[in-house]
Amino acid sequence: MTSALGTETAGLGIARGAEEPPSLRALRYWAYQYKRTWRGSITTSFLYPVLYLTAMGIGLGSLVNRHAHEVDHVRYLVFLAPGLLASTAMQIGGNEATYPVMGAIKWMRTYYAMLASPLRVRDVLFGHLGWIAVRLVTVSGIYLGVMAAFGTIVSPWVLLALPAAVLTGLAFAAPIAAFAATQETDTAFSTIYRLVLIPLFLFSGTFFPVTQLPAWLQYVAYATPLYHGVSLCRDLTLGQLHPAGDVAHGLYLVALTTAGLWAALRTYRSRLVV
């Protein structure tokens, strides 16, 4: 065999122009993992919006339109679609930041394999969240494609709904990854779904404007990240911009993502570097 010894020449022989950023190298791992399951995953990404938009948007929507004519000045389907876009991003962010994070710490121990290489904790974290962002771009992109096919796209501002959805997903993924890294078992994850993600899905304006809620619940809704994600995605998709409000929605999501990243750096360090 060729020498397994790290000689200087061997080192020089492989030296290339630019180094690939370390977090991108960590991201590649997740891409390799995904190679196994991408077919099923992409199919789901198509089916999910098709099923939801058909059942809720067209089926339930025809009933809603008959009674209310319009919700927020548009057909129910058009109203619903951006809400589901944001909710889907939340769900993807949540999924990808729970079990895969636990697996990389406890089951497959992938993070430790990475940390035995030149990668640092922040590369491991940014690589994983970067991959989650890639997934969010794909899933949201497909969702927008399906929305176009359903004829729910009415404004060019919709192009900005893609980054808005990705940001919504990351605003969940970062803090949830921070939390997942503190867990010994996966039991808390189902609690997150039951007590956080599902209630948000139902009450953050995805299916009906939060103004339909009792006043006190409205204030609760305003405090939740999904409300801001849904509102931002909906304003952009419908082209009904409220500049001050939309900037506030965006800032809220950026702040939550940043706080999540900061927390995750801390919890990842204390978990992985002992």
Binding site: M1, A4, L5, G6, P22, A113, A116
Partner: protein
């Protein structure tokens, strides 16, 4: 590599207690010790994965606290617990790992092919890792640690759980790497492994180094040339030992047998017989690192 007063604490608990050692380039160095001795904790510090609590540590001349990534670039690590990706194929495990080191895919593929032949897994390259046997996974972990062509290879119990054949295969491979100039740091609780692989070793117990030197020196220093193992029907070993006092240079009472240290085993067995004792079984053997360990700590290495 140099360690001075190297210490690792987990909360109040001291896992590695102010150890000193020097490892030369090209050397093969062992850490021998029972469960919980602090071997893994030490390996994790020298592979720059775990911060040093106190003391100084230089690896490849650099300080792990500041140059962790640069040091790890030149280290191959075989952790005690495998960190393979079970869903990926054998080959993809090597490719993904090589990418962490920023190696071009082409280079990794070339090396991977050689490495898989080297560890005799070439025919499984395109199979998933999950169904492989424990020993195959271990060999794959070793191959993976070599993808980056490290100068320093750190192996934490490389052959635990391997069958004798696989162990010999691994030893043979490690021996060849050593001949190519790779520095080896190995932990083990197998004396035969340490004797086979290590130019020099330290024996650790309770976070401290209790002896240090080349295996034959340690045996010469802490044990006699031969050992007589006696097994008696009843478990009155301590009582019997008292009666044998003076016959051997030294003795050790174990739960199941009695060890007598001497330079001439056959003669000692004769003397035991003449003194009227009838052991159920007698065994004369060359003394080993196990005896050194027993002498130094009063406990058996493999519990």
């Amino acid at each position: 590599m140099t360690a001075r007063g190297l210490t690792k604490r987990f909360g109040q608990f001291t896992a590695v207690d102010a150890v000193d050692f020097d490892i030369e380039a090209g050397e093969s160095f062992g850490f021998l010790g029972p469960n919980g001795a602090g071997k893994t904790s030490t390996m994790r510090m020298i592979s720059c994965m775990s911060p040093v609590t106190s003391g100084t540590l230089r690896v490849l001349g650099l300080d792990p606290a500041h140059d962790g990534p640069a040091i790890r670039r030149r280290i191959g690590l075989v952790p005690q617990e495998d960190t393979l990706d079970l869903q990926l194929t054998v080959l993809d495990n090597l490719v993904v790992y090589g990418r962490y080191f920023d190696l071009p895919r082409k280079v990794i593929r070339e090396r991977a092919q050689h490495l898989l032949e080297f560890i005799q897994l070439a025919d499984r390259a395109h199979e998933r890792v999950e169904p492989l046997s424990g020993g195959m996974k271990r060999r794959l972990t070793i191959a993976r640690s070599l993808v980056s062509e490290p100068d320093l290879l750190i192996l934490d119990e490389p052959t635990t759980g391997l069958d004798p054949q696989a162990r010999h295969l691994v030893w043979d491979r490690l021996y060849r790497l050593k001949q190519q100039g790779v520095t080896l740091v190995v932990t083990t609780h197998y004396m035969d492994e340490a004797e086979q692989l290590c130019d020099r070793l330290v024996i650790m117990d309770g976070g401290r180094i209790v002896a240090e030197g080349p295996p034959p020196d340690l045996i010469a220093r802490y044990a006699t040339r031969e050992v007589v193992e006696l097994r008696f029907p009843a478990d009155d070993n301590a009582e019997v030992a008292a009666r044998l006092d003076g016959l051997a240079q030294r003795h050790e009472v174990l739960p199941d047998r009695l060890l007598l240290y001497t330079d001439d085993g056959e003669r000692l067995v004769e003397e035991v017989r003449r003194s009227g004792l009838t052991p159920e079984r007698t065994l004369v053997r060359r003394s080993s690192l196990e005896d050194v360990f027993l002498h130094l700590t009063g406990r058996s290495l493999v519990e």
